[in-house]
Amino acid sequence: MFRRIAPLFAVLLVLAGCATRPSEDSTAPPEAEGVFPVTVAAPGAPAVTLDRQPQRIVSLSPSATETLFALGAGPQVVAVDSASNFPEQAPRTQLSGLSPDPEAIAAYRPDLVVVYADTTGLADALARTGTKTLVMPDAKTLDDAYAQFEVLGKATGHQAEGESLARQTRDDIDKIVADTPKRSLTYYWELDQTFYSVTSATFAGQVLTRFGLTNIADGADPTASGGYPQLSAERILQSNPDLIFLADSKCCGQNAQTVAARPGWNTLTAVQRGQVIALDDDIASRWSPRIVELVRTVADAVARTGA
């Protein structure tokens, strides 16, 4: 559905936004192949210049994989890393995004490699094989995520789709947030069973901040511990959050029942009123277009929760 209307969007967008670049509406074909060479950079990452539209993309970032397929660049993707489990048709391999192996990547003869961090000199190694590396660092805000959609669109020759995907996602999220009643609620976001959490300074925390929720992990300084502090059970109990979000349901089998069975947790308001929400770990930890699903889940939980 989306893919069918995407070209339409493209034309509309080009018509609407062509004032600064009037040459585009005459050159842009229906597939919106974009203009190459093009120089792109995700927020907080080095710029990369691509001479022509990449045809063999290797994605080593689950978030980037989801975005590439969402904006119609899926057919150009030849390999994705072992953690990229969405969408279904993504060509999963044993490649690792955590410790990328240039030789294993080169075997797929890519002309563009997308990673979420280059801590091992991957870009330099791949440059020697003539391959460009695009770094898509962890999005810190929703705006970062939208910007990455546009960057990936531009880099793959789907500029218009990238822009419309960013706009659509932004509009969807803004609408969901606007339609959700504002309540002063507190929440606890669980990353694992040892009570690692996120503060408002993280991407997930920023999403929930949009709803006006208060994070119990925010101490005097939400950026402390890199935004990922380990809380004590005592502190969680004393904070008595109205909502509990479990980002460790798939990985670690956590759900409302297992949470209620923890020592003392049955005294929590969220447990007693059924406001423990088991999230899809993947959706909860990626800055892909599926962030809308997370926002919707949070909105439902907020709406259900009595004031």
Partner: protein
């Protein structure tokens, strides 16, 4: 030669116990959540006398279901690691020996990793799979070291070398399993740093029987350890069988270590530092070192855990706290007593 003339005098033990009780009480009164120590004290009094509780149900749960079991568990783990350390040092006549020697830590780490990697979503067990696996792994590691060491002659030095080899091998398996599933690395890593933040009464009940059994066996064997410290030939000349004594006390110490590891992860330095301090303060006889290590280890780890849960807004890994406080202290001990160890 250790000084075996010292006897455990009752006042020393009583003083140790008084300190331990004071530390336990302090740890229960002051915690990560700010309940007010007077109110917690009033709550304890109310529970003892059947009076009116000053706390809400949730606050009471914080005290009785989280804080009290955690403090007790810290004491049990500290006692287990310290007494195991004292035992290992005695058996191997090596002041640097620690409870994780002979592949206990490596076995526990390997088994815990295998569980996290291959059975990640196992839940609803009576006992969590992670402590169970760590316990089995620790015992397995020690058992394997024992078998390898014995087949190579069975002396203390071959046993130590066998432990090194077994530990390296088990660690390699662990690393390999982690590479198969990089997503689980943090879960294992958190466990390896050691901590008691998710502990409750269940963990206390898991650990108590093994540690209690080991403590009784080791206290009863203290005299034998004193004889063993003189040397195998001397022990044999007194009609004892060094090999058998070693097997019994090492088994008891390993059991206590495995129980501690299974509920708390890897917490270093308790087993080295505490027995050394005890020796400095009260003499080197195992009839002194064993019981005082139990008491001192408990007090030390309760205090260390107190730091771990209150010094920062979040939790600090307990293993980091013990290393922070224990390692410099240990270096200082080494320096100030180098003549004894050289």
């Amino acid at each position: 030669m250790p000084d075996t003339r010292t006897r455990l005098r009752a006042p020393v033990l009583v003083a140790g116990l008084v300190v331990l009780v004071a530390v336990l009480l302090f740890a229960v009164l002051v915690g990560a959540s700010d309940l007010g120590w007077q109110r917690v004290l009033a709550e304890i009094w109310a529970q003892l006398t059947g009076g009116q509780s000053p706390l809400s149900a949730r606050e009471a749960a914080i005290v009785w279901q989280l804080r009290v079991p955690r403090v007790l568990l810290a004491g049990i783990v500290g006692a287990a690691l310290a007494v195991s350390g004292a035992t290992f040092q005695g058996v191997f006549r090596n002041p640097l020996a620690d409870p994780y020697l002979l592949g206990a830590a490596a076995g526990a780490g390997m088994a815990a990793t295998l569980v996290v990697v291959f059975a990640p979503a196992v839940s609803g067990w009576v006992v969590g799979p992670l402590p169970l696996a760590a316990f089995a792994g620790a015992l397995g590691g020690v058992g394997l070291s024992w078998l390898v060491g014995r087949s190579a002659g069975g002396s203390t030095s071959t046993l130590l070398l066998a432990g090194v080899a077994v530990a390296s091998f088990l660690t390699a398996i662990q690393t390999f399993a982690q590479q198969l599933n990089t997503e689980t690395i943090r879960q294992v890593y958190t466990w390896m740093l050691g901590g008691l933040n998710v502990s409750g009464w269940r963990e206390v009940l898991i650990a108590v029987p093994y540690v209690a059994l080991a403590a009784v066996v080791l206290c009863l064997s203290a005299r034998l350890l004193d004889v063993l410290a003189l040397g195998d030939a001397e022990a044999a000349s007194l009609g004892l069988r060094p090999g058998r004594i070693r097997l019994v006390v090492l088994a008891a110490a390993s059991l206590a270590t495995a129980a501690a590891v299974s509920v708390s992860g890897l917490i270093g330095f308790v087993g080295i530092v505490v027995p050394h301090v005890v020796r400095m303060l009260a003499g080197a006889s195992y009839r002194v070192v064993i019981p005082l290590s139990l008491v001192g280890g408990a007090a030390f780890l309760v205090l260390a855990d107190q730091l771990a849960r209150t010094v920062m807004p979040g939790e600090l890994p307990l293993g980091v706290v013990t290393a922070f406080t224990g390692a410099p202290f240990f270096a200082w001990i080494l320096r100030s007593s180098r003549r004894r160890f050289s």
